[in-house]
């Protein structure tokens, strides 16, 4: 049961618990013990958020869940900011939006989760459809309060020849989960599905993705990088399923995580389920510490330990940042990463 449904029905008994396979590392039942009231109305000035400096054609704001919920329909080339702003204590902010990129259209979506307050519960649901040959790049920056529970779920449906790319940057919360489920028709459609989580303190970030390749000739490329410090916990669950007959699928998944402290934790479940014969699929998964030899090398040149760690960690995450196509968004994220790492690597 979704958070939104549970809160609206004021019955949290069916929220995912440790026993639900897809939620065992990020269960909600123990962190949302009763249904919070809906958060009150707030006014959010336009033009803020992490993408403030990037030019866009349109900005949509959901302020404590309230905003223009009409479908976002894109026919030509557009850059749209989608801001989910929550400023609430012990209250819920529930948002839902649908996006349609029409045949031949192209959308850059600059999506931000901007949370402030104590123990709020935020849930966002996105329904994204790309028609034949449509293109979309989605860049998500999720910054929630340390005591928040924040879930975002995107259901993405691609048509033949569509080109969809996303890059998610998550810094965690008490529970923060960004889930993307993609229906991939094959047929020349291309998918890039990247992400970074940077978690310190007692923060928890969960990047969950599931892709179903239903037809021939589809590609998926996934690069997830995680950094966990302090008592932070990172979760990656990635599933790529190649259906029977989805031949000539090319799917690559990588998840690499750095543990910067003994008390940090990373849980990863990369899965390829392949039912077709003629496919090219690979996945890789590593969890480890910073390379001591590289650290020594940097220190030998004069970098203090802390700076050396930041430099190497930034470089590690940088591989994902470089894959962002939109120059403005890439710059925003490239600037954001070292600021967040600064706090993590102390």
């Amino acid at each position: 049961m979704s958070l939104t449904a549970a809160i609206r029905s004021r019955d949290v008994s069916a929220l995912p618990s440790r026993r639900d396979e897809g939620w065992r590392w990020s269960e909600l039942a123990s962190v949302v013990r009763s249904a919070p009231p809906l958060a009150g109305t707030i006014t959010v000035a336009p033009g803020g958020g992490p993408f403030a400096e990037v030019k866009a054609d349109e900005e949509r704001v959901f302020a404590n869940g309230q905003g223009d919920a009409s479908p976002l329909v894109v026919e030509a080339g557009r850059t749209v900011k989608l801001r989910f702003v929550t400023r609430a204590d012990a209250a819920a902010s529930l948002s839902a939006v649908s996006i349609l990129v029409k045949a031949g259209g192209s959308l850059t979506l600059l999506e931000s989760y901007e949370g402030e307050g104590e123990a709020y519960v935020a849930d966002a649901a996105l329904d994204i459809r790309l028609e034949d040959g449509a293109r979309m790049e989605r860049i998500v920056v999720a910054e929630d309060a340390e005591t928040a529970v924040s879930v975002s779920t995107a259901q993405v449906t691609l048509a033949p020849g569509a080109d969809y790319a996303q890059a998610v940057f998550a810094t965690g919360a008490r529970r923060q989960r960004i889930e993307t489920r993609i229906q991939h028709p094959g047929a020349g459609a291309a998918l890039r599905m990247d992400g970074v989580y940077l978690v310190g303190q007692r923060r928890h970030a969960d990047l969950t993705t599931a892709v179903v390749h239903a037809g021939v000739d589809g590609t998926t490329s996934q690069m997830i990088k995680g950094v966990a410090a302090g008592h932070g916990r990172g979760v990656f669950q990635g599933l790529i399923r190649v259906e029977h007959g989805a031949d000539r699928t090319d799917a690559r998944m990588r998840h690499d995580a750095l543990l910067l402290s003994d008390t940090a934790e990373v849980d990863a479940k990369p899965e390829l389920e392949i039912f077709a014969d003629d496919v090219s699929c690979a996945h890789g998964n590593t969890v480890g510490a910073l390379d001591d030899a590289a650290l020594f090398y940097a220190r030998q040149r004069g970098l203090p330990l802390h700076e050396a760690r930041v430099l190497l960690t930034e470089a590690f995450v940088g591989a994902v940042v470089e894959r962002i196509a939109h120059p403005g968004a890439r710059e925003v994220v490239a600037a954001l990463v070292p600021r967040r790492l600064e706090g993590l690597t102390c």
Binding site: D292, A293, A294, F296, Y297, A298, R299, Q300, R301, G302, L303, P304, L305, E307, A308, L311, L312, E314, A315, F316, G318, A319
Partner: protein, 249 residues
């Protein structure tokens, strides 16, 4: 300048350096030669402050300052530079970014302001030019995909940028072709000066034709077993280490 007295170093519970004494006066270049496994790299790493190299006895001072009580970053800031026998690859960090961060960190530790970007680039271009390096290489991930010789040249580039007080060159000549050897040697010679000392570790007399050492030491079995002038290198080339290995045992 550098003064090492009766140094004992243990790595992974194995005694590698066993009573090494060496004095390197300011402005001099000393060569260290010795058989494989003698402890030459161990000495370099120990002086540079790598974790896991445990000094169990003895001392090492630079200009009278106790090196062994400083961590690796502090030693670098005090002027210790090690050209690695096997330089590391650092994906995602361009050489320029790396060297600039290192230079600024060293300046900061001395209370000096950061170098400004145009000055830094100008110097980097000059140094790269003198070492006949393609400047574009400095914009790629440090050493990533570089050949062995290119990596060694990158080490000398960094040394020239950082202007250390004490340079330890651990087999900088291995992996260099004949032309590169000359270029690198010229780069090293250009850095010789009354305020800078160098320890040049090598297996080959050839390098010492280009970088004329003031003294040559033989390191065997974890200590200096013979010292002499440049002619000692020629003798070693002719006769090998046999008699020294026996002396060390």
């Amino acid at each position: 300048m550098l003064s090492i007295e009766n140094l004992h170093v243990t790595v992974a519970e194995k005694a590698i350096i066993r009573g090494l004494t060496l004095n390197l006066p300011a402005g001099e270049v000393h060569a260290i030669m010795g058989p494989n496994g003698a402890g030459k790299s161990t000495l370099s790493y120990t002086l540079a402050g790598r974790d896991g190299y445990e000094v169990t006895e003895g001392s090492a001072t630079l200009d009278g300052k106790d090196l062994l009580s400083l961590n690796a970053s502090e030693r670098a800031a005090a002027g210790v530079f090690l050209s690695f026998q096997y330089p590391l690859e650092i994906p995602g960090v361009p050489a320029l970014t790396f060297v600039r961060a290192a230079l600024n960190a060293q300046r900061k530790s001395k209370g000096e302001p950061e170098i400004n970007a145009p000055d830094f680039l100008k110097r980097a271009r000059e140094v790269a030019g003198s070492l006949k390096m393609d400047f574009e290489m400095l914009r790629r991930g440090l050493n990533v995909g570089f050949s062995g010789g290119e990596k060694k040249r990158m080490e000398i580039f960094q040394m020239a940028m950082l202007q250390p007080r004490l340079a330890i060159l651990d087999e900088t000549d291995s992996g260099l072709d004949i032309d590169a050897l000359k270029i690198v040697a010229e780069g090293v010679n250009a850095l010789r000066g009354p305020d800078r000392s160098m320890l040049v570790i090598t297996h080959y007399q050839r390098l010492l034709d280009y970088i004329r050492p003031d003294r040559v030491h033989v390191l065997a079995g974890g200590r200096i077993v013979a010292s002499g002038g440049p002619e000692l290198a020629l003798e070693l080339e002719r006769e090998g280490y046999d008699r020294y290995s026996k002396a060390a045992a």
